[in-house]
Amino acid sequence: MAEETTGVEIKGLERYPLLNAFLGGWSIFKQSLLGKIGLILLIMFALMALCSYIPPMVDPMYNPMTGVDPDITDSTGPSLKHWLGTDFMGRDILSQLLAGARVAFMVGVSAAFMSIVLGTAIGMTAGYMGRFVDTLLMRLADMIMVMPTLLVVLILAAVFGQLNIWSIVLIIALFRWPGVSRIIRGQTLSLKQRPFIEAAKVAGASHFRIIFRHIMPNVLPLAFLFMTFRVTSAIIIEAALAFLGFGDPGTVSWGMMLQWVWKTGHMFKAPYWLLPPGICISLITLSFYMLGRAMDEVLDPRLRKEDQTD
């Protein structure tokens, strides 16, 4: 895993560790073809998400959830009025697709963010406290990593009833923190030995203060860089849940779209409806994966192409 420094720093910016890490990382990232493709795809999806606000503004019939075309009451193929056709209720598929992009980003980013916060807090605590607390937390992490998240959410749905989109995001985050916490814990452990921590202790700083004032700033850049592109599983889980019928009924997501095409028996008749959402989910997963790989190169010097001698 990555050492204390990523080895990519810009002179003169040591005082701004976040910015430093970012700019340094960018110069490495630029060289990765995979990373560039991933980034382009992601930007495309981001644009889709932003454009999702446009169709309903053009005409209320383009509202993904409630839009009804007075002339159409069933699923139809692509036409001038509806570029991707309509679903079984006459709603515009393209608007749904765009709205789905918005949901995907929302879910992905929120879940990633929450799991980073949680994972960082737990990782720092485990690494800093050591011994009993450390063992306990890491055992907990191990147990959680073993559980199939999708099925856990399912059983929670059984207990608590229908879940709304934010509950889903929260639960996903609750099951993704172990990955982050391991990295952060490792980082904290190596930071713990450094002289400036000793100095702070001698100066009488409380544990709390040391963790938040000294360790956290050094650990956060790593946390963000590392986790930001691991959002994929959150998006997939939400999509799978929606597909199975357990998603938030008020949210139009790509998984939800697939649920509709499946359950309304249009699977065999409406490729214009079946194909786009699935392609989108797969592509966004692919692009995040590519970005993640490029990120790995940034964080782990050994993976960088320039260092390979053969």
Binding site: M147, P148, I155, G278, T285, L286
Partner: protein
């Protein structure tokens, strides 16, 4: 010797984890908002049956006693009665378990073997077209959304071409036919298994391919590979006999780490293909509010995951002499 001790240690570990899961589930179902009784007792039961069941499950006792009853019931296989089927839950899930194991095991082993094999080949031809094709193929298939892939396969091969059945595990005609032999029945299951198996296989082999590929590239730099070459061995022998066995070890680890992902995929596959397994039962029971069945399905799946983890760990320990001796 070491191996046996290792297995025992791991068994203890997974037992503890299972108990934690059991307890958490218990607490969830008893303490969550709503009436816990309605979650365990079918509202359509007659009051006398309901009374009997309530005392059997200990729902009228304080929480501590409830827990003990709960644990006891688990070990005696008493999970209550399914709201939907009316049968004892244990019968239902017991019936489903082999189907899941069949599908899950076959797909995992196939994906791992093919992934290792292709990953090895990809590393031989690093940088060439073969490698690019395989790597991109692995990447793309790995990121396909599983339920969607399943739907596409059903549509193309089940519906359009009609080559394979689109749901279920068996055809009634074959199984109800008193003259049908073991082979006929086996083939029938196999026939139904093709599409679900393909779905699971396609979405999982890619990860193993990529790991094997990079593992091979690392291994080929090791000193013992250099030694093998210095000994005058042919390149093919070096790769297959010296590099590959070492490079395959991380793949085994990876299989273990991705078991949760595989189980998720398994449940989704079973649902789309109506394959009568526990995964599908869990999804179905949750949607039907059949709480006893849902609970039991989840627990059984947890056991499957834990045991699979154990098997993978033991396999790794067996393959790597550094652990065994």
């Amino acid at each position: 010797m070491e191996l046996r001790r290792y297995i025992i240690k791991r068994l203890v570990q997974i037992t503890i984890i299972f108990f934690v899961i059991l307890t958490v589930l218990f607490l969830l179902f008893r303490l969550a908002p709503g009436d816990p009784v309605s979650r365990m007792v079918d509202p359509d039961m007659t009051p006398e049956d309901a009374e009997r069941l309530i005392s059997q499950l200990g729902l009228d006792q304080p929480l501590g006693i409830q827990y003990l009853v709960y644990v006891k019931n688990f070990f005696t296989g008493n999970f209550g009665y399914s709201f939907h089927y009316g049968n004892p839950v244990v019968d239902v899930i017991w019936d489903r378990l082999p189907n899941t194991i069949l599908l899950f095991t076959t797909s995992t082993i196939l994906a791992a073997l093919v992934g290792v094999f292709l990953g090895k080949i990809a590393s031989w031809h690093k940088g060439e077209k073969t490698d690019s094709v395989m790597t991109i193929g692995a990447l793309v298939t790995h990121t396909l959304f599983l339920p969607w892939l399943a739907l596409i396969l059903i549509w193309v091969f089940g519906y359009k071409f009609g080559w394979f059945p689109i749901n279920g595990m068996v055809s009634e005609e074959v199984w109800l036919d008193p003259d049908a032999g073991f082979i006929a029945k086996g083939l029938d299951i196999g026939y139904h298994m093709v599409l679900p198996l393909t779905t699971l296989f396609l979405t999982h082999f890619g990860a193993y391919l990529l790991i094997m590929r990079s593992s091979m590239l690392e291994t080929l730099k090791e000193d013992y590979v250099l030694t093998a070459r210095a000994k005058g061995l042919q390149e093919k022998v070096i790769r297959d006999r010296h590099a590959a066995p070492n490079a395959a070890l991380p793949v085994v680890t990876s299989v273990g780490l991705s078991l949760a992902f595989s189980i998720n995929g398994g449940a989704l596959t079973e649902t789309v293909f109506t394959w009568p397994g526990i995964g599908r039962e869990l999804v179905f029971s949750v949607s039907q509010n059949d709480y006893p069945l849902a609970q039991a399905s989840f627990l059984l799946i947890a056991i499957v995951v834990l045991v699979s983890n154990l098997i993978v760990d033991v396999l790794y320990a067996y393959l790597d002499p550094r652990i065994r001796y």
